[in-house]
Symmetry: C2
Subunit: 328 residues, 2 copies
């Protein structure tokens, strides 16, 4: 055991005011990023086309003096003509299976043209470029847990490939702009993240369970419920992003919580938190559904310092609280 560090870890909380453009600002993660940056005194330009983002997430900041919003599809260009940017954060994309399978071509485009438009904008402004990639680049992994050096096991022609391959491409073009054009880039691979302001129809397991529980419906479990997932609370993700912005490191960094839970364990935590018994309905696994994914966070820890992640109990409690206020 080493002593916990006493030095504050550098993050955007201690930096000079920055001008930060966020694509996908009306999405789940984008809106939490915007909130944090505004609270820290930075200026935020949000961009979204609402293909999967929510207008209510823009309304949260609409009156804020340091927030401006541009409604645009970043796959066709980012119409920003303001002052010099410090960061372009590319978080736009349908990110849950029902959304990206509904919009496969749009998902592919925001990974390719959208990422490239962000890189060009960052290059033109001499700004940093921050790519939201995903643990889905590991596909159905044959290595467990997954370090960033694992090359993944993705079906290039499967029904999920519109998302997985788009993100792998996004990483490749980010590295190409870093290597050949000198753009100051960051790449994170985001593992399963949950929290307030996820879309009720997001289709991912925690949202499904919370909203099914609140509606008094049985919880849908795909397969036999023995598949495991790691769940990261949104505030931990945002903290990791904020710290990585201050570190000069260009290869991918996993951001996730390595604690694993089976679907059935997750239901137990939820039952305890909601102080109720929940019924379960089992359904067959969808095609290409990854069986298991868990971040190796050695690189993350060594770059970003120690974290005190929010427990699943506490994170679920906060998520349920907010969801109760916005029933689906």
């Amino acid at each position: 055991m080493t002593e916990p560090t006493q030095q504050p870890v550098p993050s955007t909380a201690t930096s000079d005011p920055l001008r930060i453009l966020i694509t996908g600002s009306a999405g789940f993660i984008g809106s939490h990023l915007a909130e944090r940056f505004l609270n820290e005194g930075h200026t935020v330009i949000g961009v979204d086309n609402y293909i999967s983002g929510q207008r209510s997430n823009t309304e949260l900041f609409q009156e804020h003096p340091r927030f401006t919003f541009i409604e645009a599809d970043v796959s066709y260009g980012i119409p920003y003509e303001g002052e010099k940017l410090d960061w372009v954060m590319h978080f736009a994309s349908p990110a849950s299976p029902p959304h990206y399978q509904q919009f496969p071509v749009e998902t592919l485009m925001v990974g390719a043209q959208g990422t490239q438009n962000g890189l060009k904008l960052a290059h033109a402004h001499g700004a940093g470029f921050f790519l939201a990639s995903t643990s889905e680049v590991y596909g159905d992994p044959l290595v467990h847990p997954q370090p960033e050096t694992y090359w993944g096991n993705v079906n290039p022609i499967g029904v999920r490939s519109c998302y997985d391959e788009a993100k792998r491409y996004a990483e490749a073009i980010t590295m190409a702009y870093h290597r050949s054009r000198g753009v100051n880039t960051r790449i994170i691979r985001i593992f399963n993240t949950y929290g307030p302001r996820m879309r009720p129809d997001d289709g991912r397991v925690i949202t499904n369970f919370v909203h099914q529980a609140l509606r008094g419906e049985p919880l849908t479990v795909y397969g036999d419920g023995s598949q495991t997932r790691s769940f990261q609370y949104i505030d931990d993700l945002v903290e990791g992003i904020s710290r990585l912005m201050m570190v000069m490191y260009h290869e991918p960094v996993n951001l996730g919580n390595p604690d694993e839970f089976t679907m059935l364990e997750l239901i137990q935590v939820l039952e305890k938190g909601m102080d109720t018994n929940l019924n379960v309905r089992f359904e067959p696994l969808p095609g290409d559904d990854p069986k298991q994914r868990q971040p190796n966070i050695e690189r993350t820890r060594s770059l970003l310092g120690p974290m005190q992640p929010v427990s699943l109990e506490n994170g679920l409690e906060r998520t349920v609280q907010i969801a109760r206020l916005n029933p689906s």
Copy 2:
């Protein structure tokens, strides 16, 4: 052993005249495709921007009454406004490591925007779309030989990823247009192919060896020369493409010759064919160089029927003959 089939295998040789647009028509493979289609009575529209294609390959057909050429970068659109197309064949891309590493962003773009522009054009014309993918989607394979069902082992952020990930993305968007827009698509994964009209500076092993031998220089071998490659003669590839156009099959199909040779065996065949002794200079392996790749051609055979591939001896002989006429 089964008896060899006596029925003629359907191919473009026996089809009604077609109108075929080929992107990358001035490239090595594109020019051989154009030649075959013109000889069979079809109409060919060639498109190239000469980023790695050769003007001499356009000049071959410039006077042909059924050939027209459009100089354009297909990543920015395909400016074709002629009669209804039957096929859009997307063969444009830098394809050898020195070329795509010199043009990483252009390579990524022709895989994404270029492929999408081809798909849109095919969709608008109700035409078939034929994607030239590559064995590089298998990366540094852990399965040997590689069936089409193998998902590959590609480094998404390596120096080759601008090509490999672009092609994986191209496959994903091709399947997305097939599934969601009903485009009649084909995907081939092309293994190492050689023959006349490769660029002398192509950087691939057979071209390097042939031109070094003709210049009386020692042949450069990377590593210890024990790595194996399969080599397909260009006419066999073109025959496979022609047959696949006539088969309604949308998943990827390997096109390659499974016979494997080490670099040192290849040199022996070349020495015999040129009736001379060749010197060898050993150099270190470049980064991310795949060690070994060999097609599993079970699917290919069952879809396209039996092939009588050109032997390495004969193919090298024809390649050396043409290279002698065009010394580098």
